[in-house]
């Protein structure tokens, strides 16, 4: 009900259709599931509006390799918060394939998972709560921890590199 990105609540500017749904007018911004994108790729790329793809669990982000720069947004669906496949998709898209557009988590997106999603490259979260509440949840979640062990592509400095810096400074 509220999408949080870059420390603010943003408008929903995208229409998501499923495998069969009718497509909106050509100049509307559209998100389609990966399977449909693969099937109707050429006609979808010929539309006037923005284009995005939704990944569902079991999809291969690698299938988007040739088209990443044509996509402004990729949504990753977490049908249940316990299904963690989307975390791997996030890292593969960002760290390996170099996707720079919006990476939005949709579905069962809860406060306690947001930090992990952020660490895996997500920058937008579609939450089931309203504006201010959603924003506060994201803010709280992102600052709950301050020590990170794993190097991911999120730019956070790991405990290990801080230790190395400290050791170097002492030498």
């Amino acid at each position: 009900m509220a999408i949080v990105k870059n420390d603010s609540v943003i408008e929903q500017e995208w229409i998501t259709v499923d495998a069969e749904g009718d497509l909106p007018a050509s100049d509307e911004n559209l998100i389609v599931p990966l399977a449909r994108f693969k099937e109707e790729r050429d006609s979808l790329l010929g539309r006037n509006g923005g284009l995005g793809v939704q990944l569902n669990p079991g999809d291969a982000p690698e299938d988007l390799a040739d088209d990443l720069d044509r996509l402004s947004i990729i949504t990753v669906n977490f049908p249940a918060y316990t299904d963690g496949r989307g975390y791997s998709y996030g890292r593969v898209l960002r760290e390996r394939m170099g996707f720079t557009g919006e990476l939005r988590a949709v579905g069962d997106v809860l406060r306690d998972q947001i930090l992990y999603m952020h660490r895996c490259g997500f920058d937008a979260y579609d939450l089931k709560v309203e504006g201010e509440v959603a924003l506060n949840k994201v803010r709280a979640a992102l600052k709950e921890m301050s020590v990170y062990y794993q190097p991911t592509g999120d730019g956070r400095v790991t405990a290990q590199s801080l230790r190395e810096r400290r050791r170097a400074a002492l030498q």
Partner: protein, 551 residues
């Protein structure tokens, strides 16, 4: 031993505070038990039959004296005066009150301990050889690598919602005391042809309702590459492991269904893309961790000690204890002393507050403040001078911790079973107590020699019954407990899964059945054979016959 630095401490403190808030929300009724469940599970809090249970992590089974003393204090203040050491080298408290758990976690954090990732579908506590850094037969101390795995796996953002829980075990010795072949990933240290030390990587081992021995996915991975290789395996598992059925979600099923060759291909393909990335650990960093586990300041001693020999010849009970519970140390003049938590007729793995404090004191006085927890639910003082063994044993003996039964038939692994566990189909602790009493006589135990009995109270196999030389599985048949016996299981480097002997036995019959197996073994064993060796030589039939006759 590894000491937390400010980063490690900060992380645990932040986590402790986070959980305190979550418990507050639960107690205030802001969140339901349903919503609270995943949060408490991430912090080692289970709901058992009678109460909440708190599982505290003991990373790679290594404890300092002050930590063990604190565990004793927690048993006294927050529990009923005891704790239960588990097959995953952890400790469980069976009776904490939910509103007090945040305080217990704070007390744990004061000694750098926590309950993080002791449950949930994440990478669990990494386990290893309890004799690490002390064993005469080890290639290298595995704990520096375990510590690096601990850090890599703690709050790993990508691998916190895996299809199912994930357990990694490491052995630095060819004699596997960490059961690495029945873990999701088992790592065995060895040297390659070029003389470098690295790891054989095995995947897909596990117990539970479909037990498997792990398969080798890679013969050798160098130390620098270990972590990227682990990440590659976990990514493949996270993406492709089954999520449609919780009983088919472990990596062992993926390996079984797809075949090890296919999984190897996927992992190698994944690894090729990340192996030169930021998870590559350089030699300097590894050296830094090795240094943290540097051997304590051993004295240069002769291996023989006259007083030690004299005490052995004068005190038969001490001599018995040395024979079963004391193991060769790599340092001359020192020994590894095992503290049995299996007194005859006792509850396997339980220790009282004062027992924990005593072992903590003894470790400070005699073992450089170092204590280990074993996956067979005992404790270890890893570095004791031979000259001090008599003093150590005398103290242990007074506290009912000096039982001379390591590896013997009464050194039973048992899960909590129906006495505590909501999933149990039968009791397991009372059965282990009855078997222990039946075989209590020490001379007889010694004559029987190494014999591993392992008992689970349901098919989830927390008591490792599949890898017991004799395994016992408690089931429920129309409201009555009965026990299925498996033979020939083994958790060592020669790992195998036990075979079901036949129809189950009632609670009244099962101890006699075990005794008849042991008697048969004594009758037919050849010189030097352990139970498992005899079983491997003669097979199931002779044992089946004593169990079932013509039935």
């Amino acid at each position: 031993m590894y000491r937390y630095d400010d980063f490690d401490r900060q992380l645990v403190h932040e986590r402790t505070e986070q959980f305190r808030e979550q418990v507050k929300r639960r107690l205030a009724g802001d969140i339901t038990e349903e919503q609270f469940r995943p949060l408490r599970l991430m912090n080692g809090v289970y709901l058992q039959l009678h109460a909440y249970m708190l599982r505290v992590a003991v990373p790679y089974g290594t404890l300092r004296a002050d930590q063990l003393r604190q565990l004793g204090m927690i048993a006294r203040v927050y529990d009923k005066g005891y704790g239960h050491f588990t097959t995953r080298q952890n400790i469980q408290y069976n009776w904490p009150k939910l509103d007090e758990i945040p305080d217990a976690l704070l007390d744990l954090a004061k000694v750098e301990m926590h309950a993080i990732q002791t449950s949930g579908n994440c990478i669990r506590n990494t386990t290893t050889d309890q004799y690490a850094g002390a064993a005469a037969d080890e290639i290298e101390d595995p704990r520096p690598y375990c510590e690096l795995i601990r850090q890599w796996s703690t709050f790993h953002p990508e691998f916190t919602y895996l299809p199912r829980k994930f357990k990694i075990a490491v052995t630095g010795s060819p004699n596997d005391r960490a059961a690495v072949k029945v873990h999701d990933i088992g790592l065995r240290m060895h040297q390659n042809d070029a003389g470098e030390t690295g790891f054989e990587v095995m995947v897909g081992g596990g117990l539970g309702r479909t037990p498997f021995v792990g398969k080798t996915i890679r013969d050798f991975i160098g130390k620098n590459d270990l972590f990227s290789y682990l990440e590659a395996i976990l990514r493949v598992y996270n993406r492709f492991g089954r999520r449609d059925n919780k009983y088919k979600a472990r990596i062992k099923i993926l390996v079984h269904e797809e075949g090890i060759d296919k999984i190897r291909e996927l992992v190698e393909e994944e690894w090729a893309q990340i192996k030169d990335g930021s998870l590559r650990v350089d030699d300097a960093e590894i050296a830094h961790y090795i240094e943290q586990f540097a051997p304590p300041a051993f004295e240069a001693l002769f291996d023989d000690d006259a007083d030690f020999e004299r005490h052995k010849s004068e005190n038969r009970r001490f001599a018995n204890w040395v024979r079963s519970n004391v193991i060769e140390h790599k340092q001359s003049g020192y020994a590894i002393a095992n503290v049995s938590l299996k007194p005859i007729g006792g509850i396997p793995g339980d220790a009282t507050d004062t027992q924990m404090e005593l072992v903590a004191d003894l470790s400070e006085k005699y073992s450089f403040g170092d204590v280990r927890v074993t996956h067979e639910q005992n404790l270890v003082l890893p570095h004791v001078k031979k000259a001090d063994l008599f003093a150590v044993w005398s103290e242990l003996d007074k506290a009912n911790l000096g039982t001379a039964n390591l590896g013997y038939v009464t050194d039973i692994i048992s899960c909590p079973g129906l006495d505590y566990c909501a999933l149990a189909t039968a009791r397991s602790i009372p059965l282990s107590q009855r078997i222990s009493e039946r075989f209590g006589d020490l001379d007889r135990q010694h004559d029987i020699g190494e014999l591993k009995i392992k008992i689970s109270g349901c098919i989830n196999a927390c008591g490792h019954h599949h890898v017991g030389h004799i395994g016992i599985l408690g089931l429920d048949k129309r409201g009555k407990e009965f026990y299925q016996i498996t033979l020939g299981g083994d958790a060592s480097q020669d790992a195998s899964i036990g075979k079901i002997a036949g129809a189950g036995f009632s609670e009244a019959e099962v101890v006699d059945a075990i005794e008849s197996l042991v008697t048969k073994y004594i009758d037919i064993r050849e010189s030097g054979e352990r139970f498992i060796d005899t079983y491997r030589r003669v097979g199931m039939d002779p044992f089946k016959e004593v169990l079932y006759g013509d039935r």
